[in-house]
């Protein structure tokens, strides 16, 4: 589907505007497809759905904003299913694009209502607000950094590399131009000295 067919957003007119070709051309073509679909023409219906798919995806992506592609896709599928189940509500004496737009907009508003309620639910939950583990982890990180700064430079580097970054003893030995056993001893001493400092702080 070319960009020229993209929906150009709802402007309060009750219709979806289409760039380039204009609403009238799209209306004529899509309406013809819809009338054949209502008569039971499966090929016309597949073409129509693919066309609507392009329009609706662009519409929801723009409405929901970047980063909400998964929501837009869900909404798009829900809208296609709703249109299918309720296609008898299209009145052939009225514009087809207005019918499509009314359903797309209804589903969008319904989505906003649902997600707003979800957001309110989570704010209303004290556990979610006060039980966060993230801040404790952050505080722990600060404490470790503070403790490490009290170790000699060389030992601190060794512990950071092996215990925090997760390097193997061999990798750390290579990085610091030390033997593996020297690394092991250095880390062991460093940790021992750290735990001694912790106990000292705790008393």
């Amino acid at each position: 589907m070319s960009d020229a067919w993209r929906c150009n957003l709802y402007k309060g007119s009750g219709e979806i505007e289409l760039e380039g070709f204009g609403l009238i051309a799209a209306e004529a073509e899509l309406k013809a497809l819809m009338l054949r679909s209502l008569a039971g023409d499966g090929t016309a219906y597949a073409t129509l759905l693919r066309r609507l798919n392009g329009h609706l995806r662009a519409y929801y992506l723009r409405r929901l904003g970047p980063g909400r592609a998964a929501d837009a896709e869900d909404l798009l599928q829900e809208t296609l299913i709703a249109m299918h189940a309720r296609r008898s509500t299209y009145d052939p004496t009225r514009p087809f694009t207005a019918w499509v737009h009314a359903i797309a907009r209804y589903k969008l508003i319904d989505h906003y209502r649902r997600t707003k309620r979800l957001a309110e639910d989570s704010i209303d939950d004290p556990d979610l607000l006060f039980g966060s583990e993230d801040s404790r982890a952050a505080e722990a990180q600060i404490d470790v950094d503070r403790l490490l700064r009290r170790l000699p430079e060389r030992t601190r580097r060794l512990i950071q590399d092996v215990k925090i970054e997760g390097l193997s003893t061999a990798e750390a030995a290579e990085r610091h131009a030390m033997s593996e056993s020297a690394v092991k001893v250095g880390v062991h001493r460093g940790l021992k000295s750290l735990s001694a400092k912790l106990e000292g702080d705790g008393s």
């Binding site: 219906y45 798009l76 296609r87 907009r105």
Partner: protein, 213 residues
Amino acid sequence: MKTDDLIAALAGDVTPVPAHTVGRTLGFGLALGAVVSSAVMVLWLGVRADLMHAMMTGPFWMKFAYALSVAVLGFGLIDRLARPDGEGGIFGPLIFAPLAVMVALAAYQLFGAPEDLRMKMMMGSSYQVCARNIVILSAPIFVGLFWALRALAPTRLTLAGAIAGVLAGAAGTLIYAFHCNESAAPFVAIWYTLGIVAVGALGALLGRISLRW
């Protein structure tokens, strides 16, 4: 599910849709409810004993015409509002026309009557039960219409619910008119209207909740 697969599945499921499906779905719900409601009226309240005689008098047809015109306009409106892009159009303001005529007729009768008769013309002999009976007789029709609407696609849920309620109320009133033996226009203008409006209000409240799709 991938959207392309969904489209293929939907396209494979397409069957011809007859014209005027919306009107027929609503009409079916309405008729089904009206059958139940008529049975309730006959078994519970009974048809007025002097029906044959009453049908030759003006007041019977006044009540009949009032309820029928509201019902016809209500059906025209709900047939539009059951569609996503539905607008009331000319039927919107027109639905108040029967009420305006009824109120004018009631006022005309009241001012032409002796003062001591006026209260009697407004209260009749069944004011305590009239609106309540209309609400009860409207209930099956209300259910039928809401059931039909749930298969359709209204997007203005409160309005669609209200109009479905008014239509159910008017249809229930039409059925009640075969039992009720009141004949004064002021009575009809007050108590029949109250019954219809009550069902309409119920529809507005329930529409928001139960018509979502």
